[in-house]
Symmetry: D2
Subunit: 284 residues, 4 copies
C-alpha cells in the first residue's frame, strides 16, 4: 500500500471536495492544524467544497459550527449537504401538504418553504395523516424512538408516499470505543421491517457531486479530471467520487484505519486514486 | 383455492400443533368458540400442543393468560415456546456469567438458573461487560429504545458472544389498522446495522417442533404423518411444519387474509396441505 | 387510480425522456403507432431523449435497430444508454491495462479506446490477470455461464478492481409467459456470492438523467420542471426520475400492468406524477 | 486464542460428529493420518457420525469414496448427508408427480421412490410442467447453466412448488487458489432474482443433527452434553452445533485459517467450545 503525502498530490487539481467528519473533524473537534490546509489552498488559488452527509443542520449552521471551532475558511457557500439535496427534492417533487419528519425541530426548519409544512412524526394522527405527502429522516435525536419508530412504520403502511433519508451511514463514532446508531441506521431498520427501500441522497449517491460540479462550472472552466474527492470512508466518499468519475484520496483519520485499509479496499473492490495519512498540510 | 372445513381434516391425525396468535386469539382476545375446538379434541382423544414464538413470558404465565380468558384446556405442559428453547440453549451453551437481555424483567426471570445471571442491557457497563457471555432479545417492551439499542450495538461490537432472538416476526398487529415493531424486528434492525446474523429459535426453525415431537414419542407411538401443524402465517408456521415433514393447515384468522392467501402462497412457494377459514369447531 | 391521456399531459413539458423497452417496444417489436408520438412531438416542437439501461450495443447500433423497424425519428444523438455512462467511467477512471468483460464481442467493442483493452473473461488467465484493472458486465449472452461465471468469481477474489454493471434489471420478458435472466441478474448472483456490491450505472441511478440534462442545457434554457420521464418500471424509470427531481409518467405497456399498478405503487412507495395507458398518441 | 490438542479434548464425549470436507479431506484427498483418528476412537470405544452438506451422492457412494482412498472406518451407516434429509422431505411431503432437479443423474437417482419421478430441469416442458410438485438443487454439475438456470427461474414463476437446496455453501475450494460456485451459490443466485427463499437442509439447519441424535438414542443412553461437533466452517458446522446445544470444535484445516480464525469468530459472534489445529490424532 503506497501512502502519499497529501500536499504532493494536490498540484494536479483545480478544486478539492472534502468530506467533513473523519477528514476535517472528529468526535474531539477539529483535526489539529487542519486550518493550514485551507490557508495552503488559498495561497495556491485552489477552490474547494465540503460535501457532507449531514441533514441535521442548515449549511449556515454547519458553517457557524466551524467558525466556533476557529476555522473561518469554511463559509456557508462552500458547503454542499445532503440536507440541501433533500430540500431541493421537496421543493421540486412534494406538492404542498405535510412533510413528516424524524429529527430535531432545528433540522426540519431548514426544509420549510414552498407551501409544505414540516411536522414531526409524533404529531401525526388521524386528523392530519391524510395530508402527509412525504417522510424525511433527518437526525437520530429529537424524537422518542419507541413511540415514533412505531408510528413511522404505521405511517408508511397507510400512506403511499416517498420516504427520504439524507444520511447513508448506519453508525457514527462518538468516542474512541463507541458508536451511535445514525439516522441512516434507523432508516435501514425501517426498510428491513417494511421490505421497501428509501430514497437516499447522501454519498455514494452522486447527486451532491453533481450539485457542486454545476456550481463550479458557473465559476470556471473545469473538467472532472481536475477535481479530487478527499474522504475517510470507502463506501460513501470514495465510491461516490469514483462513480462520478473524479480522482479520489482516502485519508486515514476516520472510519478507515491504516491497519485495515488494504483489507477493506480489497474486500469491497473500492479503489481510491491516492491514500494519504491525513488531509492536514503542516507548516514547513 | 380449495377451502376445507377444519373438523373434516382432523380424523387423519393423532396430534395437532397449534400456533397461538392469529389462530386461538388475536388483539381482541380469544377467538369466539375456540374452546369448542379443544372440547372436540378431548372427545376424539386427540392430543395437542401450542407452539408459540413467544419469549416474553414463561409457559406457566402463558397458560394462566388463557385461563384468565376462560380457556382452561391449555395447561402449562401443553405449551412449547421459543422462550423454552432459549432457556435450554442457555443451560447447555452458556457457561456462567451474565446473559444480557432486552425485554421486561418478567421475561428474563424465567431464563435464570444454572449459574447465569440475567442482567438488562441498561445495567451493563464497563464494570461488568467483561462477564457478559450471551445476549437475548425477549420482548419489545421494558427498555429505553434509544439508550438501550445504542448500548446493544456497542455491546456486540465489544464482546464476542452469541446473540439470540426467540421471535422471528418483524411486526405484530395491535388492532385492525396498526402494527407494532416486534422484538424480532428490533433484532432485524441490529443485524442490518452490524452485518451479522442472530441465532433465531422461533418458527420456521424446527427446534420447537422437535421438542414437541420428543415429548409425544415419550407418551405414544406416533409418526410424523400423524401430526398436523395449524397456523396463520406462511413463513413461520407453515414453512416450519413443511420443513419438519408434517402436514400443515393454514387458517385465515390472522396474518393471512382470504383475499391474499393465494397470492402469498404463490409468491413465496410455501404450500400448506390444507386451507381452512378458522380453527374454530362450532357446535352442531 | 386516475389514468390520464398521454397527449393531454404533454403541453407542460419542453422535453420528454423515454425508456425504451416496455414503452416504445416489447418482445414483439415496436408498439403499433408509436411513430405517431414522435411525429406529434416534432409538430409541437418538443425535444426528447431515449434513456435506456442497455449496454449490449452502441447508441449507433441501437438507433439502427429502430430504423430497421421503421422508426426513423430516433437517431444516434437522441440515445443515452448505460453503456455510454460505462464508457465514460472507463475513460475517466481506468488507467490502461485490461478491462475484462462478460457479454458479446459486439457489446465490448464500443468500450474500446483510451489505452484500455477489452478482453472477455474466458481469455483471462495467469498470464494476463495481473493487468486486469476493471470488470464490466454487458450482456447475458456471448459467454459460457458455467466456465465464465466461475472464472469471474475467482477474478474478483484475486484482483482488487471495480466491477461495473450497466443494467439493473434481474430479468426481462422474452414472450408473454417467460422471462430471461438479464446481465443485471447475473451481477446480483455474483454480488450475493461474494458479499460485495457492484457499481451500477442504469436507472434508478441518476447519472444518465444528468447526462441528458447537460446535453439539453447546451441547447436551450430549461429547468427540471419542464422535463417528463416516461417509463414502464417503477423501481428504475419512475424512481430515477423522481430522484432527479423531474415529473414522471408510468405507462402500462410493459412491466407494470393495469391490474397491479396500484398495489405496486403502494407497496414500493414510488409514486409517478401521471399514469397513462401508453405513450402512443393516436391520430385523430 | 487458545489452541487445544484434539486428542486432549475427546475424553469428555461419548460421540463425535465430523464434518467431511475441510476436516477429513480436502481438494488433495484425505488428510494425511486421518485414519489414525478413527483407530483411536475405536480403541476408546467412542462412536462417531459424519454430517455432510453433500447431496450429490448417496451415503453408499460417499462411503465407497472413502474406501477408495483407503479409509475403511467410514461405512454407509455412519454418514448423515443433507441428501438423506432431502429424501425424507420428498417422501413425507411430495405427493407423487415429478420432482425437477438441477444436478447429475447420479445425484437424483438416490431420491427416487415413493411414487415420485426425478426429472432434470432440461426435460421439463409444456407437456409435463403441470406435474412438477417440487424442485431440488443437488449438484453444480450435470446441467447447462445458461439454459437450465433460465428454465428454473421460469419454472418457479409458473408453478407454486417448494424449492429445496441441500447445500448451504456458496463456494467450495478446488485448489489452493481457486473456488468453484457450489449448488448453494446457484440457489442464492435464483433466490436473489426471484425474491423468495428456498428450503435449506444443510448445516447450520439442525435437522441433520436431530437425525444423528435420534439414531444415537436408539443405540445408547446419551445426552447432548456428551456429543462434540468437529468442523472447519463457523457459519455451518459450528453455528449448527451451537444451535443444537452441543459442544463444538473448530479445526483449522479447511475454510478457517489460523490467521483469520479470531477475526471471523469475533465478527460473526459464532464461538466454538474448542479450537484445534486439526482432527488428526498422530501416533505416539
Amino acid at each position: 500500500m503506497n501512502i502519499e503525502n497529501f500536499k504532493s498530490i494536490l498540484p494536479k487539481y483545480k478544486t478539492i471536495f472534502f468530506d467533513a467528519f473523519g477528514v476535517l473533524k472528529n468526535y474531539n473537534g477539529l483535526l489539529p492544524d487542519i486550518d493550514k490546509t485551507f490557508e495552503y489552498l488559498k495561497e495556491q488559488n485552489q477552490d474547494f467544497y465540503i460535501l457532507t452527509n449531514d441533514a441535521s443542520r442548515s449549511p449556515k449552521q454547519l458553517a457557524e459550527s466551524y467558525h466556533k471551532l476557529g476555522l473561518y475558511a469554511i463559509t456557508e457557500d462552500k458547503i454542499i449537504s445532503s440536507g440541501m439535496i433533500t430540500k431541493e427534492y421537496i421543493d421540486l417533487k412534494v406538492d404542498g401538504g405535510i412533510v413528516a419528519y424524524l429529527g430535531t425541530k432545528n433540522s426540519a426548519q431548514y426544509l420549510e418553504g414552498n407551501g409544505t409544512r414540516l411536522v414531526p412524526v409524533s404529531e401525526i394522527d388521524d386528523s392530519n395523516i391524510g395530508e402527509v405527502n412525504a417522510l424525511v429522516l433527518l437526525d437520530d435525536e429529537g424524537f422518542d424512538w419507541f413511540k415514533d419508530l412505531n408510528k413511522t412504520v404505521n405511517l408508511l403502511r397507510k400512506r403511499t408516499i416517498p420516504a427520504i433519508v439524507a444520511n447513508t451511514d448506519n453508525t457514527y463514532p462518538v468516542n474512541q470505543h463507541d458508536v451511535a446508531i445514525a439516522i441512516g441506521g434507523v432508516a435501514t431498520m425501517i426498510e428491513s421491517i417494511l421490505g421497501r427501500r428509501f430514497i437516499r441522497f447522501g454519498k455514494p449517491d452522486t447527486t451532491m457531486f453533481m450539485f457542486a460540479y454545476d456550481l463550479l462550472k458557473q465559476k470556471m472552466t473545469i473538467s472532472k479530471r481536475e477535481i479530487l474527492m478527499v474522504g475517510d470512508t470507502l463506501h460513501t466518499d470514495i465510491l461516490g467520487g469514483n462513480k462520478f468519475g473524479i480522482d479520489t484520496a482516502l485519508v486515514l483519520t476516520g472510519n478507515t484505519r491504516i491497519d485495515d485499509a488494504e483489507t477493506k479496499i480489497k474486500s469491497m473492490g473500492i479503489v481510491p486514486t491516492h491514500i494519504c495519512e491525513s488531509a492536514v498540510i503542516e507548516n514547513n
